[in-house]
Symmetry: C2
Subunit: 240 residues, 2 copies
DNA sequence: TTTTAGATGTGAATATTATCACATAAATGG
DNA sequence: CCATTTATGTGATAATATTCACATCTAAAA
């Protein structure tokens, strides 16, 4: 437990050392829990227990409590968790209270769709500008301004942008990525179907739509279910 | 090792029992390896070793070999792997040789973008039709035909569709999902930010764009890097 | 107010996953 | 053609993640 003072106010900190993977896995489930909690909230639920949430999320109650423990999210002994409290703590985890400015690279089909995705705004994530090399797109009217790459540096600095979305064609993705990194971007969501090379201090989250679809096809074809049996038999065929 | 005969040809099968999670994790990495291999192929590489691929994918050589072993993908002792062979085997894994008909639910911003996503076609995944309740969209001209829900059953049967993409608003996602399941759909990619409830034999792959973005923001803000240090310190602040 | 029941939070135990290490096989060179 | 080198493939081992179990605390009941 550490105590420090900022502007006449004392803050009390707890320091916890965890391995990065523990955090990653827990974090993924925190997203899951949050989705469940919003659903339960809609249904009028005000208080949840670890087993309520576990049931909804398809995990064990222990896992829920352990995950909460990981992020220092605490409930009431015997009293479970107050749903609104839980959600508040989770939103705080994701810096929801602060505003985040994001830029969008590429105004093709996907970029256009993302630029209109209103949910980002609902969650304090503002797509402040898009960039595209097509001069026509720079002139056309969209929900957000579209610039050429020449104004990238200026916009990133003005809006203190740290995170970018890459929705450009595969062929130019790495080049765009390098340019972003050069201008101080620290986090990237990449929709281009390539693995981008970035320095160690830049976080990349790849979303490959084809891969996602193919993995579903694989599961369907091999009849691998989400629930039920734990072990499966694989057949490897070879013509003789 | 099992041997069976089909149409005068003998097939030799190897049966392997694995836990579902091992398969899931390995499969995810197989996608990763495949992406790396395509990059290496573009660079003119023809032969790879487990350590070449490991380096590219950011895993250990042992992991690569173990994963290959899981899916019975075999190389040449001392000779590494012939790149084109590897890719062929991987594509076969994903039933790339067969055609897959897919339907798209919802022709909003995201649905429209997905309907134009040409890469699906390149990988033998055909979006044969879209569905939207908006009569205007049913009349308008798109790259693929857009129908009302009344024709869902007919199309699914005609094209033997097993996999669907849900890109409808959150509010109607569960309803659409139920309708799909009722008509025999066994795999779903869901872009609506809700957790869909499905029977055990239906596979769901949720892609939540906000969550993905938020997780990047979380990593950036907490300076959690992808590489480097294995342990991190978390600070949990409370005002005193 | 005291007791009781019931849920949390977390160290300990178990299960799972990744790494190690080496037997094995193939290409190369003498 | 044999020795040697080198990369694969996979059991054995180490590391990691999940589940168990229980001490702890609190809300409700008596």
């Amino acid at each position: 437990m550490y105590i420090c003072r900022v502007n006449l106010t004392y803050y009390c900190f707890k320091v916890k050392t965890v391995t990065k993977n523990v955090l990653k896995n827990s974090l993924k489930r925190i997203f899951l829990y949050r989705a469940c909690l919003y659903r339960l909230k809609m249904m009028g639920v005000e208080k949840v227990f670890s087993y309520t949430l576990a049931e909804e999320a398809g995990v064990t109650p222990d896992q829920v409590r352990k995950d909460f423990s990981e992020f220092n999210i605490r409930g009431n002994k015997r009293g479970g968790y107050v749903l609104s409290d839980l959600l508040e703590k989770m939103e705080a985890l994701f810096y929801r209270n602060k505003e985040h400015n994001i830029i969008l690279m590429g105004m093709g089909n996907l970029g256009l769709a993302l630029s209109k995705y209103s949910r980002f705004v609902q969650r304090n994530m503002n797509v402040v500008a898009a960039f595209d090399i097509d001069p026509y797109k720079q002139k056309a009217r969209y929900d957000i301004p579209v610039y050429g790459m020449d104004r990238l540096k200026e916009i990133i600095h003005r809006f203190k942008v740290k995170v970018a979305i890459i929705a450009v064609p595969e062929i130019s993705a790495q080049q765009v990525c390098d340019e972003l990194v050069r201008n101080g971007i620290k986090g990237i969501i990449n929709f281009a179907p390539v693995l981008l090379k970035v320095p160690e201090d830049v976080v990349i989250n790849n979303i490959n739509l084809c891969d996602e679809l193919e993995s579903v096809i694989y599961y369907v074809h091999n009849q691998i279910r989400n629930e039920g049996l734990k072990n499966i038999e694989l057949l490897y065929g070879d013509m003789k």
